[in-house]
C-alpha cells in the first residue's frame, strides 16, 4: 500500500467515524432539528468532502466491480440527496429555471379540484401545472364504524387540459406519482370527512437514490456472501 492509498483510507475512516458521531448527536436533537442540522452549511461541506473522497477512492484504487458498485452506490445516494434537498431545488431554480415545489400540502374538498399547494418551507401558495380532483374520501375500519382504522383512502383524478390523465386511490403506503411529484394521503376532515389533505413531495433525485440503493445492495451481497459461496463451490469441485 503506497502513501496515497494509505492516506485516502485514513480519510475514509475519519469520515465514517465523524458520521457515526454526528448521527448520534442528531438522534438527541429530534427529527426536525436534526434535519435542519444535517442541512446546515457546515454539514453541506461535510457531505461534499465525503462525496469527493469517495470519488477519489473510486478513481485511485483499482477496485473489483463489487466494491465499485458499493462505493458508486454511495456516491449516487449522496448526489440524489443533494439534488432533492431544499438547496438542490433552489439551485435548479437558479440554473435551469425549473421552479419545482419540494414539499407542500394541498387541501381538496370532495367533488372539487385544486392545483394549489402550500409549501412547507415558507408557507407560500404555489400552483401545479395540472389539477387534482378528490372524487371521494373514506376511512375503512377493522370493525364497522368503530375501533381501529384500517385505512384512509382518497380517490383522486389528475386533470390536465380538462382531461382526466390519471386516476388512483391514494392510501397509506400507496402514493400517486404524477408530473414529477408524489401525492400522499396526509390528513382529512375529522368532523364530516368532507375534505382530504395531500402531501406533495418532489421526486427530484429519487431515481439516483434508488439506483444507488440497488447498486449498494448488489455490491454488498456479492462481496460478502456470493464470493464466499462461489469460492466454496470451486473448492469442492477442485477437491473432487
Amino acid at each position: 500500500m503506497n502513501k496515497l492509498h494509505h492516506s485516502i483510507l485514513w480519510a475514509a475512516l475519519i469520515i465514517i467515524i465523524l458520521l457515526i458521531l454526528l448521527s448520534i448527536y442528531g438522534a438527541f436533537l429530534g427529527s426536525e432539528r436534526a434535519q435542519n442540522f444535517f442541512n446546515s452549511p457546515p454539514l453541506a461541506v461535510y457531505w461534499f468532502v465525503s462525496g469527493l473522497m469517495l470519488t477519489a477512492g473510486i478513481i485511485i484504487f483499482r477496485q473489483p466491480v463489487r466494491l465499485l458498485l458499493i462505493h458508486c452506490g454511495c456516491v449516487l445516494v449522496l448526489l440524489g440527496a443533494m439534488l432533492g434537498s431544499d438547496a438542490g431545488h433552489g439551485l435548479q431554480r437558479k440554473l435551469l429555471g425549473i421552479d419545482k415545489i419540494n414539499r407542500g400540502k394541498m387541501l381538496i374538498y370532495q367533488g372539487r379540484e385544486s392545483n394549489k399547494v402550500i409549501t412547507e418551507k415558507d408557507s407560500q401558495i404555489k400552483e401545479l401545472p395540472f389539477s387534482i380532483r378528490l372524487k371521494e374520501f373514506r376511512v375503512d375500519y377493522y370493525e364497522p364504524k368503530r375501533g381501529a382504522v384500517r385505512d384512509y383512502i382518497s380517490s383522486l383524478a389528475v386533470i390536465e387540459n380538462d382531461e382526466i390523465v390519471a386516476e388512483k386511490n391514494v392510501e397509506v403506503n400507496h402514493p400517486l406519482h404524477y408530473g414529477g411529484h408524489y401525492f400522499y394521503q396526509y390528513a382529512y376532515d375529522t368532523q364530516d370527512g368532507q375534505y382530504s389533505v395531500l402531501m406533495v413531495v418532489s421526486d427530484t433525485g429519487l431515481g439516483l437514490i434508488y439506483a444507488g440503493y440497488v447498486m449498494l445492495c448488489t455490491g454488498v451481497i456479492w462481496h460478502f456472501w456470493l464470493r464466499d459461496i462461489f469460492r466454496q463451490k470451486k473448492k469442492a469441485a477442485d477437491g473432487n
Binding site: S31, Q35, N173, H174, D228
Partner: protein, 264 residues
C-alpha cells in the same frame, strides 16, 4: 416485571427453561442432552410464534413483545447454520442468548394484541423487520466472538479451529448484508409511507450509526489487518452496543420522539 398467566406466556417460559437447561447441560459436558433440549425449546418457540400469529392475525413483528418472541425463534436456525456451514462455535452462548432475548417477551413487554395500523400494511413489513432481526443475531454472535477474543479464549470447534478474531469477522460478513437490506428497505418504505426516504428520525439515525460502525470496522480491518486484534474486536462490541440502543433505548426512553413508536 409481570408474569404472564396465559398459554402464550407459559409457552415462552417453557422455551426459556429449555434453552437454559440446554445451556446448563452443555456446560456440564452433556452435549447431546443439551442439543436435544435446544431443539425442543426451538420447536416450542415455533409453536408459540404460530399461536401468536393465529391470535393477532397478522405477522407478529409489530411490537417489542412480538419482536423478541421472533428473535427467540430465529436464534436456533442461525446457530445451526453457523456451526454447520461457517464452522463458528459458541453454541452454548446461543442457548443463553435465546433465553435472554425471550426474557423481555416473557416478563417485560405487554402482549396486548394490536390491530395493524395503516402504515404497517405493506409488503415491506416482513422483509424490513426480518432482515434486521436476523442481522442482529449475527452481530450478537460476532460480539460474543469479540468478547472471547478479549478474554483470550477460543470457543470454536474442530481440529484447526478458527481464531476468535477471524470468527468475529466471519459473523459480521454474514450479518452485514442483512443489516444493509434492513436499512435500505426501511428507507424505501419510508418513502412510500411517510413521503421521506430519510426523515432524520432518532431510530433512523441510531440505525445508521450502527451500520456505519460495521462499515468503519471493514475499513479499519482492511488497513491494519490483524495488527490490532483488540481494536478489531472493540468495533464489533461497539456495533452491538449501538444495536441494543437502536432496538431498545430509542423506543423505551422519552428522550427520543420517534415515528417508530410501536413500543408500549
Amino acid at each position: 416485571m409481570v408474569i404472564k398467566y396465559t398459554v402464550q406466556g407459559a409457552l415462552i417460559y417453557l422455551v426459556m427453561a429449555s434453552y437454559l437447561l440446554a445451556f446448563a447441560a452443555t456446560l456440564l459436558k452433556c452435549r447431546k442432552t443439551g442439543r436435544v433440549l435446544y431443539l425442543l425449546g426451538f420447536i416450542t418457540a415455533v409453536f408459540s410464534f404460530i399461536c401468536r400469529w393465529y391470535y393477532v392475525r397478522h405477522i407478529p413483528m409489530q411490537n417489542l413483545f412480538e419482536v423478541f418472541l421472533c428473535l427467540g425463534v430465529m436464534i436456533f436456525p442461525i446457530s445451526v447454520f453457523c456451526s454447520r456451514t461457517l464452522r463458528i462455535g459458541g453454541h452454548s452462548a446461543d442457548m443463553l442468548i435465546g433465553a435472554i432475548v425471550l426474557f423481555p417477551a416473557g416478563f417485560v413487554f405487554s402482549a396486548e394484541p394490536q390491530q395493524l395500523p395503516p402504515a404497517l400494511q405493506s409488503w415491506l413489513f416482513l422483509p424490513h423487520v426480518a432482515a434486521y432481526m436476523l442481522s442482529y443475531i449475527f452481530m450478537a454472535k460476532a460480539a460474543f466472538q469479540g468478547l472471547a477474543q478479549f478474554a483470550g479464549k477460543n470457543p470454536n470447534p474442530g481440529k484447526m479451529p478458527l481464531d476468535a478474531e477471524t470468527a468475529t469477522y466471519r459473523m459480521i460478513r454474514a450479518g452485514f448484508p442483512l443489516l444493509t437490506l434492513g436499512l435500505i428497505l426501511g428507507s424505501y418504505w419510508g418513502q412510500l409511507a411517510w413521503g421521506d426516504y430519510w426523515g432524520w428520525d432518532p431510530k433512523e439515525l441510531w440505525s445508521l450509526a450502527s451500520w456505519l460502525v460495521y462499515v468503519g470496522y471493514f475499513h479499519f480491518r482492511y488497513i491494519f489487518g490483524k495488527k490490532y486484534l483488540r481494536i478489531n474486536s472493540t468495533w464489533a462490541l461497539a456495533g452491538m452496543a449501538l444495536i441494543v440502543i437502536t432496538l431498545l433505548w430509542v423506543n423505551l426512553s422519552r428522550l427520543f420522539p420517534t415515528l417508530h413508536s410501536y413500543a408500549t
